[in-house]
Amino acid sequence: MYVAVKGGEAAIDNAHAWLADRRRGDRAVAEIAPDQIREQLTLAVDRVMNEGSLYDRDLAALAIKQSRGDLIEAAFLVRAYRTTLPRFGATEPLDTGAMAVARRISATYKDLPGGQILGPTFDYTHRLIDFALAADGEPPRAPTAPADAAAMPRVTDLLAGEGLLEADSPYDPEAPVGDLTREPVTYPAARDLRLQQLARGDEGFLLALAYSSQRGFGSTHPFAGEIRMGEVELEFDCADLGFAVPLGSITVTECQMVNQFAGSADAAPAFTRGYGLAFGHAERKVMAMALVDRALRTQELGGEVVAPVQDQEFVLSHADNIQATGFVEHLKLPHYVDFQAELGLVRKLRAEWTARREARDAAADTLADREAAE
């Protein structure tokens, strides 16, 4: 006797209870608090803020706890929450030239105004597991020094001053701010929308695309002109007041890639730009983003689109890991109705195939019999 598979509701409730229990883990071990995640897993928090498209360290930390450390799941939680938030407008453009810099390096100059500042970086650490971290004990405080009051101009500004680097597109304060979360993307997409999608995009996907361009699938011959990380002030242009109001400061990482020159009869040869900007400390992300941004400019700079990284539709429509993970994982949902339809067709095709084979064999047998008889 067939019993229908019922009880979806109870099954779901039980699954959620089990999930919560697994999240807690061994109850003999102290429970992790969101502020510990916020303070000690800062780079995970930064990634979730970027891919979740919302600057909120506490919320991202809580999402990481709720998702058991699955960062794409955490970004998904943040995204869904973001949908419910009201919008008041857009801030003034960030002035990253006025950044309170914690790290700033340039690969194109040995030294430059403001100097090279390594900051808190994994670079030059030897990747040896530090067993001391498993033991108790506080690390010594890092040495400090008074901040250098000297200005720290962006490397790209130094280059552009000489005309060696293509100028940034002029800023028009009246131009509307593109937002692909409010208007569906149409292709070709302008650079503001492309950069927005890259900023929200999956770090791993961008990394692989950037790497592919370095290995020759759409090369851009890049130099890391500058990578800087630090705090910048946010100003919100309040229409009611008629002037910009400071909202506070956020930490961002910026990368300016300087790429092989372009020139034409109308424009003198100059280096071209690729740009990356992300919340928090996210160097891998902004470097990959800058490489991909430059590659996506191939057509506008007179190049031929031949590699995936240069292809807008390919890059932009697959960069979002919330969409990607949802669609890949939806294959877990029941598909038995469609599978039934395919089953029926394959059975029919196999039956026809067998009938044809038998008819052929029978014909061959008849022929063989006849030949044997002759």
């Binding site: 006797m1 067939y2 019993v3 229908a4 598979v5 019922k6 009880g7 979806g8 509701e9 099954a11 779901i12 998904f76 995204r79 869904a80 973001r82 949908t83 419910t84 009201p86 979360t181 409010r182 208007e183 569906p184 993307v185 149409t186 292709y187 070709p188 539709e313 429509s317 919330i322 969409q323 993970t325 949802g326 669609f327 890949v328 994982e329 939806h330 949902l333 029941p334 598909h335 038995y336 109705v337 469609d338 039934q340 339809a341 395919e342 089953l343 029926g344 067709l345 095709l349 026809e352």
Partner: protein
């Protein structure tokens, strides 16, 4: 305060989405109804369910749902599949609407992969969850290209594909997401419903809305729209047929699920539409594997 701004449980807006978003979606729906079969872009939001799990249908339902509506949600034709349960629960929580499993009682039916067997009536709305709204996508992956093809009604590529099927397999080897032509103009993906259901779309008195969240598209079939499955004169469209009736309710001419009953090749075929099957059994119909109410009570 209108009904749609009234807040439901948890401090979220009625049916989760804020009024501005609903207005944007309703505009897209109206445009879609005005141009049957045409895919209208809309700014789909990140929903609290994963992309690919019905976010398009959920947003359409959220935008059209009113407090007096009666909602039915099915997946694979069944009301009790996990994702249908999850979506029904979502609207019960966020919109506090009445829910039902009875096709005839529902004003809004959200579905994945099936059209109910009970014919829909005027005033009912069927909301489809759509994964890939573009019928030409697997023939031409680029949106820039397919948009032009739709604009020019250039569907040669699709006909070539169907012809190639016949050349290879002797028939059009498409069993679900079988393309249809709407009002003689747009070729449309009916969502991955089995082709068995295609004829139900034709001249349906109900309004049919299609939502694709990840792909950010909405399209529609207003009531009494001509919906014709693509075919050739010498290879006419053939809906799937089953050899046996439903083993539980004895229905014929309905879509059946194959249920494996043991590991020795035993299988039975039962209605995919659970409401249809239960209603028939309540009316006294029965098949070979179900003798009547008493049997079920002791089972």
């Amino acid at each position: 305060m209108t009904a749609s701004t009234a807040t439901a449980a948890g401090g979220y807006a009625f049916a989760y989405l804020d009024d501005q978003t609903k207005r944007m979606i309703r505009r897209a729906i109206l445009k879609a109804i005005a141009i049957p079969g045409h895919q209208v872009p809309f700014a789909a939001r990140d929903m609290p369910m994963p992309y690919g799990w019905g976010t398009g249908g959920i947003q359409v339902t959220a935008a059209i749902l009113g407090p007096a509506d009666v909602l039915k949600v099915i997946d694979q034709g069944a009301d009790d599949t996990t994702n249908a349960v999850s979506i029904r629960k979502f609207f019960k929580t966020t919109a506090n609407v009445a829910v039902t499993t009875r096709t005839t009682e529902a004003t809004v039916i959200q579905t994945r992969h099936r059209i109910p067997e009970t014919p829909l009536g005027p005033g009912q709305i069927l909301v489809y969850q759509v994964p890939i709204p573009e019928p030409l996508r697997f023939l031409e992956p680029r949106e820039t290209e397919t948009r032009v093809m739709h604009a020019l009604a250039d569907y040669g590529l699709m006909h070539v594909k169907l012809y190639e099927d016949i050349a290879t397999h002797g028939r059009i080897a498409k069993t679900y997401a079988y393309p249809v032509k709407v009002e003689g103009r747009y070729v449309m993906d009916p969502s991955p419903t089995p082709k068995f259901d295609n004829p139900k779309m034709h001249l349906s008195p109900a309004l049919q809305l299609f939502g694709a969240g990840r792909e950010k598209r909405i399209y529609a079939l207003p009531p009494f729209t001509h919906v014709v499955s693509l075919d050739f004169e010498d290879h006419p469209f053939e809906p799937t047929r089953f050899d046996a009736p439903c083993a539980l309710c004895g229905a014929t001419g309905v879509y059946l699920d194959e249920v494996v009953t043991d590991d020795a090749g035993g299988r039975m075929f039962v209605c995919s539409d659970t409401d249809h099957c239960e209603t028939r059994r309540a009316e006294g119909h029965h098949g070979t594997e179900w003798a009547g109410e008493a049997t079920e009570a002791t089972a």
